[in-house]
Symmetry: C2
Subunit: 504 residues, 2 copies
Amino acid sequence: MSASRIGLDSLRAKVMSAEDAATLIDPGSTVGMSGFTGSGYPKAVPMALASRIEAEHAAGNPFRLRVWTGASTGPELDGALAKADGIEFRLPYNSDPIARDKINRGEMDYFDMHLSQVAPMAWQGFLGPLDTAIIEVSGIRPDGSLIPSSSVGNNKTWIDRASKVILEVNRWQNPALEGMHDIYYGTALPPNRVPIPLVRPDDRIGEAYFRCDPAKVVAVVETDSPDRNLPFDAPGEDHRAIAGHLLEFFRHEVARGRLPASLLPLQSGVGNIANAVMSGLVDGPFDNLTAYTEVLQDGMLELMEAGKLLTASATAFSLSPQAAAALNADMARFRDRLVLRPQEISNHPEVIRRLGCIAMNGMIEADIHGAVNSTHLMGSRIQNGIGGSGDFARNAYVSIFMAPSTAKGGKISTIVPKAPHVDHINQDVQILVTEQGLADLRGLSPRQRAEVIIENCSHPDYRPALKDYLARARRDSYGQQSPTLLNEAFAWHQRFVETGDMRG
Amino acid sequence: MSASRIGLDSLRAKVMSAEDAATLIDPGSTVGMSGFTGSGYPKAVPMALASRIEAEHAAGNPFRLRVWTGASTGPELDGALAKADGIEFRLPYNSDPIARDKINRGEMDYFDMHLSQVAPMAWQGFLGPLDTAIIEVSGIRPDGSLIPSSSVGNNKTWIDRASKVILEVNRWQNPALEGMHDIYYGTALPPNRVPIPLVRPDDRIGEAYFRCDPAKVVAVVETDSPDRNLPFDAPGEDHRAIAGHLLEFFRHEVARGRLPASLLPLQSGVGNIANAVMSGLVDGPFDNLTAYTEVLQDGMLELMEAGKLLTASATAFSLSPQAAAALNADMARFRDRLVLRPQEISNHPEVIRRLGCIAMNGMIEADIHGAVNSTHLMGSRIQNGIGGSGDFARNAYVSIFMAPSTAKGGKISTIVPKAPHVDHINQDVQILVTEQGLADLRGLSPRQRAEVIIENCSHPDYRPALKDYLARARRDSYGQQSPTLLNEAFAWHQRFVETGDMRG
């Protein structure tokens, strides 16, 4: 079985244990790993590397790495390496709880980047040299090309840019993945860039495999390990209410002639609300849907099984164990309707603007003027990262952000006087949705936005206080374009930090 | 002379006074005007409209308009209409002082938009219907097509979308402008968008004229009036220092192989610093430069005259009276090296990313984590608007923001603990420059950025206080990804509002 996954003799000769492979990585070096939303990340070498780092630390030797990935990985990578205190610097996205704690204690430097910009900036040399790529693949072909795994992410760029390559060949990955991927090799550094020839979400513009010079491969490690595949909670009442408001909005836009009857390519962030929206679309009036998104979740596959979604393009899967099993059982059928691309293309501003994606992303909070914080709790503690939300929100046909109107059992309001960290400026936020309702902010001034947001989206427990703040800001603010009271803009957040509750 | 500028009989028959034309505009309607950075805006009809509005107001009749433009116009448009209290809602950019005061007193609603998004959102129907277009042209051809004026802006879209069109034919505009423009007619609504076939800054992908159905033209008004053409101040010492740091950075990047020897297409914001940078490039080591920018200023023409700049693409001129005279004297020679395009194309994310522009924009302030405020003084009072800075900053090869390290004679620090309004999130800010120095933020975490920004860019009068703030934030912040002290983040701004000085 393993032999069939490694089709090239010269690479079969480089098969070794994860422990041996881990010795090929130098302290202080930069490692580019595969992995996106818990899919397709290397599972053996990072664990072995973490053990090696712990041993070196125990022996009094410093050993930390700079770690680049596609996006989030799994406990065997970010968790293990962070626990071993083996990561000095991390980009472009993390959702691992151990790494998050290290970052928020100031023990690990972390730069969350627009996901579309990682590969170009690596090519431009802005991020420094890349020493080693550690890439999970689902197979190696006789010509040395690589069959990608369940995510593509930045793998093409890591393989091309790294001085040496370590491959994990994971036989857990379904061999029928072969042919699903579309690896575009037409990117270049300016002034040699040309249009990306993609005009439909399911266009295939590249190759099904990664090119890889076998001479650069220093180790091949065989694995048989599942992706992270966390279970999704069933959508709650709030999530279903948000989905309901959004579907009503789509119906309204189609009726007004501002959206085609089959909508436009859907982009959907990761999480339960996104899944609830997809579930809502299963029963909705919209047919012949398409998706051009970052991640394929359970809801997207459900929508496809229901015959509503024709095709979907992404850079990775992020499935529950049940959905992963269902997909694996029927991969050949899904393969022709799904495309996995490099994240540089799945998230490319050019393509998103051209296709006119409907961007649907979650948020931590929005302020009364419509600026959105997607990343930092209380303005300083990072949760995950900006991910691809900026790529999509700024270039979308319509940019939607959604969340329940409160968090922590009502102790946090999602609508606040001022966002203490801004990921999406108000120009990039056209629609806000909470379970309370939907605010259509298109073409409104900040003062107009404030009224609509408070009225339609805020929780009744916080609405009077927001109205009071706005009324006083409209009286006392230094300027009236975006009324603000500087000395109490963050009072709610400060109160939460001090008492655990934003309410007075 | 005037006859020669109106080549179509049926439109010559519609020549009338500005006063008569102004009667064709209804109270409460939406008017799309030409005009971008004080160039090519209508000069007679808005003045007549303002008089009419004043008379109606004196008679007790309400009369206000929704006014859309390309960007800023001139006193005859924004100034006159704002003074008459004739603008209810304004987009996408304003720099008129009278209109600014109305906005900041809460008497006029204003939505500053990404300039690339105005035309698409108008087509998408998100901004409401457009009743009348008032467009300055430099001539009407026998076939009814229109020779554009000194700016293109959103004129194509206003002409196409408006129910009726009023033309101002301005004989002050140089007839040799004819042939300089490139009006692209290949845009569409999704799902019918295709790649924009522009791969070099000077590619011509459209037509030299606006198409216009003569049946939609309800009035033609002849004018002979100069553009705003404000004089530029000579660059001060701080501006020259900023330019010096930036040129040193370019040399360094070329030496490291991260920029070609002829750099990449330059985008430059409007103002004295931008002009100082262009002047610096005149004496610099870089040849065969190109520009893909929004506005052509004095410095850009100077660079062209010096033989350093080969070609430049923009959507408008913004020249001093001297530079305008020099350009007019030699227009035929410049015409083949300059291209004026619709702002949808000059600022298009697809094209900016493809060309790899070097984006250089001014700012009001930056915070220690690198978030930039370009628009709101003290977080609430708008100065001008975001303009095209977001289009360029997010999609640039490298995004640079610059300003002197203090303003108001030292009473305001440009580097602050936290920006009270964010136009450019830290991911979109790679380089910060003040006269103190340059901070290269590429690939740094927020904590690392804070150290470099304070050290390299802040003014020595404020540096100790910034270091003290950062040290305490690194001790007391809720999270350490982006250390922040919520209860004093805006203390400097609050102090300025109360005392007129950020210093204690």
